[in-house]
């Protein structure tokens, strides 16, 4: 049996320390995040963990004004799809950027957002 290279727990423990991890396929070189069991490009199962730079640009964004109950106290807040320099993308909160300054193409940098002991992906100014 092959143990997963990165589990969700490992990813978010690293994220809490400020590092974004991904995996690279030993078969075809495809990057994946979050890790998948099989490479969606070549079906190999030979992942190598890599560290991402944390640098990316906003591909799309929204500002949530009506939130789920568990986030109701936080509105308004911004969520963006961010394309990383390495090519993979993450969805994350945008923090420390005034809401009216957020635009598609804005360079951003990863930072962990820890709330109630749980870490989520967020991005701040590059």
């Amino acid at each position: 049996m092959t143990e997963p290279v990165i589990t969700l727990r490992h990813f978010f423990e690293k994220a809490r320390e400020g590092q974004l991890t991904a995996v690279r396929c030993g078969g075809c070189g495809q990057l994946a995040v979050p890790p998948k069991e099989f490479c969606p490009a070549c079906s190999a199962r030979q992942w190598e963990p890599i560290l991402l730079s944390g640098e990316g640009t906003i591909a799309s964004y929204t500002i949530i004004r009506v939130a789920p109950r568990s986030h109701a106290a936080e509105v308004p807040y911004a969520i963006a799809a961010v394309q990383m320099k390495e090519g993979v993308s993450f969805l994350g909160r945008v923090v420390d950027v005034p809401l009216e300054r957020i635009v598609v193409g804005l360079p951003v940098r990863f930072r962990p957002l820890t709330n109630g002991g749980q870490t989520a992906v967020a991005f701040g100014p590059a």
Partner: protein, 384 residues
């Protein structure tokens, strides 16, 4: 495989109800069986859609519950959950059961009850259809998902907020022609643009409402369909999926699952987008209708907004879309929506849609989307 036909349809009034989802389904199912001219005991299986029953009604095992409340407790029944596409997924599997010869009469449908909880609660429960660890922790909502799609579409193609508003205006206009629609009043582009922001750039009137309701359709084999009053044939029923996570999607201006499901459905039916006379599609948000009209091949990528603005998708236009009022005005009881769309297309192809009738409609299409654009069902229907 045998040909399969829809011979009965039923839909409750959409809106707020003080009955359980099982009761709402039973009302719709009774209407569908009466329409089909079949007694309840002829039903051999129930394929049932229900999504947040576990949360809003503290009710699981909703398939047998619905069958029991309807009064057919012994039929095999399965609850389908593919978020907002649940009863369309149920429909596809039911079609295969009849086509295979396993059953001759199958009841399909769904129901949902959500207006018994607050908007904050229902927003939370609907968000359970996004990824728990990666997306719910961010406070992502469904308006948020489609706001990301809208921003990407605006950036890539120049689609405008006015064009999105024109989808809402059109569907509200259609809704005034549907006595079962949740909203029966016209709105203006200005009202949409001035409505409260929900998830930039989507405003309140870009969003479909929360809705209670039920819908049902009766499927039969070709042999039984020949004895029916006005069978509507299932020409195709196809499903496609896509990455669950928003971060895994390469181009947020598109819904690849729609493109794949549509291609499969057109292939099954031997038809193309140009053959479709009337469409019921998944306009959970105004941008969703624009992107769906492109993904279904009705309009070129990037021109769905223009099509809405020019009235090409209105009743009387090139390809009428959502004559029922769509999710936007008819309402969106998520477990029932796919079956309700099918009921509308069957009604249209029978020529029984009264003031919202698409004249001479021969081929109809239904499109239902679930979750973060990760599930799409497309079916095609035709009349003799």
């Amino acid at each position: 495989m045998r040909r399969v036909a829809v011979v009965g349809v039923g839909v409750t009034k959409f809106g707020k109800h003080d009955r359980t989802s099982a009761e709402l389904f039973a009302e719709a199912a009774a209407e569908a069986l009466t329409d089909a001219g079949l007694p309840a005991h002829k039903v051999q299986a129930l394929y049932y859609g229900n999504v947040v029953g576990g949360e809003t009604e503290k009710q699981l095992h909703t398939g047998p519950q619905a069958a029991s409340v309807l009064g057919i407790p012994t039929v095999p029944t399965t609850r389908f959950e593919t978020a907002c596409a649940s009863s369309h997924a149920a429909f596809r599997h039911a079609v295969m059961e009849v086509a295979s010869g396993a059953s001759d009469v199958v009841l399909v449908g769904g129901a949902e009850r959500v207006l018994n909880v607050t908007t904050e609660e229902s927003t939370e429960y609907f968000a359970y259809a996004s990824d728990a660890r990666w997306e719910q922790t961010l406070g992502l909502t469904f308006p948020g998902v489609f706001a990301l799609v809208a921003r990407a579409h605006m950036t890539k193609y120049g689609t405008t907020e006015e064009q999105m508003a024109s989808v809402a205006v059109k569907n509200h206009r259609h809704g005034t022609l549907n006595p079962k629609a949740q909203f029966q009043k016209e709105i203006t582009v200005e009202q949409v643009l001035k409505s409260a922001m929900v998830a930039d750039p989507l405003k309140l009137y870009d969003c479909c409402p929360f809705t209670d309701g039920g819908a049902a359709v009766v499927l039969v084999s070709e042999e039984l369909a020949r004895q029916a009053r006005r069978p509507i044939w299932v020409l195709a029923s196809a499903a496609a999926s896509d990455w669950m996570l928003i971060g895994d999607k390469r181009d947020l201006s598109r819904v690849p699952a729609t493109e794949r499901a549509a291609a499969a459905a057109y292939r099954q039916a031997g038809l193309g987008p140009g053959d479709v006379d009337v469409v019921e599609l998944h306009d959970c948000f105004t941008i969703a209708e624009i992107v769906a009209t492109e993904g279904l091949g009705l309009f070129e990528p990037g021109t769905g907004g223009l099509a809405a603005e020019k009235g090409w998708t209105s009743l009387g236009g090139k390809v009428p879309v959502n004559p029922s009022g769509g999710l936007k005005a008819k309402g969106h009881p998520i477990g029932a929506t796919g079956a309700a769309q099918i009921a509308e297309i069957v009604t249209q192809l029978r020529g029984e849609a009264a003031r919202r009738q698409v004249d001479g409609a021969r081929v109809g299409l239904t499109h239902t989307l679930g979750g973060n654009t990760a599930t799409v069902l497309v079916s095609l229907f035709g009349r003799d």
